[in-house]
Symmetry: C2
Subunit: 357 residues, 2 copies
Amino acid sequence: MPVYSYDHLYTFTFQVFKSIGCSDEHATTATTGLLAADLRGIDSHGVARLSGYTRLWEAQRINAAPNIQIVHETPSTAVVDGDAGLGLVVAPFAMQVAIEKAKQAGTGWVSVRNTNHFGIAGHHAMMALSHDMIGMAMTNASALVAPTFSIERMLGTNPIAVAIPANRQPAFVADFATTTAANGKLEILQRKNADTPLGWVQDKDGHPSTDANILKKQGALLPLGSDREHGSHKGYALGSIVDIFSAVLSGASYGPWAPPFPAYVPMPENMPGKGLGHFFGAMRIDAFRPADEFKEHMDNWIQRFRSATPAEGYDKVLIPGDPEREMEAVRREEGIPLVETVVEDLKAVAGKFSLSF
Amino acid sequence: MPVYSYDHLYTFTFQVFKSIGCSDEHATTATTGLLAADLRGIDSHGVARLSGYTRLWEAQRINAAPNIQIVHETPSTAVVDGDAGLGLVVAPFAMQVAIEKAKQAGTGWVSVRNTNHFGIAGHHAMMALSHDMIGMAMTNASALVAPTFSIERMLGTNPIAVAIPANRQPAFVADFATTTAANGKLEILQRKNADTPLGWVQDKDGHPSTDANILKKQGALLPLGSDREHGSHKGYALGSIVDIFSAVLSGASYGPWAPPFPAYVPMPENMPGKGLGHFFGAMRIDAFRPADEFKEHMDNWIQRFRSATPAEGYDKVLIPGDPEREMEAVRREEGIPLVETVVEDLKAVAGKFSLSF
């Protein structure tokens, strides 16, 4: 697999965002956010999505020069209108609002409408860490998930990220889709021509399936838990909470009306709100107890869990964020491998904007 | 199965709480909270637990006359010390603090230390609904759950509840353990002498098990997702977030050091904090958008999801809170059935305090 340095991908991605009309500042923010996914090993959400963003821009679903605004606020809350901007730009704006609110009121909570795909949730949640705050980020997304007992796609993979600072230990960073498996996992299996495990997807009639291409055949992803007996109603509830906090609270479009990511998919009819929705939170640690004390206890928490007795065949128990942090260290050093289809895709993007890749 | 009226169980439970030394006010609050579980069909968390509470009181782990206090606060946050009181009393106090904060600052977030088992999370979250607020409640609990890749019990079933108001539709009320199955589900199977499905528990060596009594043999409950391939690392992360928000943020005892519910289990050594921990949130809807507008959209959300195409063999898609609300309507009318072992247990409690059941 060809490998590219972070700097190479950064320069190229920055130029692409500039080419569609982003300011230097927005292109920097968007590039940093997009490549955070490649660094952390979430390959489905990094440069592999760049061509998709450009197609949304061509379809006039993304505004490259948005006027992002706070449209309502209280001491600890705000609603932000993203003016149809890149989620990669709107999200850091809104997360910064949450952080500023938390400085004053102890916590800050920002619901966002009229926005687009924001990359990986964890990147935005982690903005809180350097302020000794807990960060949270979530977003709704194109409907690919069938609720428990249903065959209709009603929810996106609606991820939740929570970043919690520690002292000597690295931060706790959970970032996960509220489905059994994220869509990106299906894409990896498609490329390998492999089947999914049972419990990830169902076919159009609601029967269990192992077809990694089932979403192209009106199948659906399953909520975390897979089936009712294994708690899929809990995954469905979690995905619903993300949808409501992100979109119903802000005035974005929710549930099956969430705007689709692929530009060739027509927009839903009778959308009840504007664009996608996100939700961000920041909680100042010392709004609860002294930050040093909390972070000492987080060190203790992390050490205790990391040293929990492993099951046979496993070295150790992982802390949320461990695999992504370890991947980032490797990829900053050794570069980022890209599958051929992504390289071809980026070359096509380069051609479109008279750039070289 | 013998059936008891709500009023009968209310009077008896109130008398028991009075007998251990609760004030009238605290006994009323505790009784209402405990019986909310029986009404809503969460039989494991209702009067079935009453004898357990009395044993914790006998072991001097519950203070029936606590001085519950706010020990730290900002405009949108507080830490509450429950003074080792009943969680059933401490939780409504803390949730009320969250609601008062939200009235002023838009949202309120309260972390609680030095408390005990609080009944069902949903009951506390629902306190926010009549204020046109979204309510949240979570708690840590005795360690029964092994993290992904581990055989050691490190987390409780750590439930999360989120209550969201609507207008003509009943509220959305999610309330779920962050495990594949709650401990109460195992208890039901034990009484029937039946096996669990695969994916609920593992044995002491980490192998899959279907033994409903496996927790008595050093086995463990599995995080939501059941195994790594089906996303158990997400359930483990969720349970961890509940533990950290409830206990590390407040100064309660966390992870494997959470105080055990059964009074005969010795307290863990070297506890890093005081008692159990809870976490509550209240978000005023109109801190984001006009409450009427939001509730209209929630009606639309609920109607759309309820009418999602059902899978073969199912009537309709459920909204979180539907089964519990329907159960409550039936049980208020027809009474609350109790299994014989619970009746025996309550008769023993009655004997202990010279009451009749």
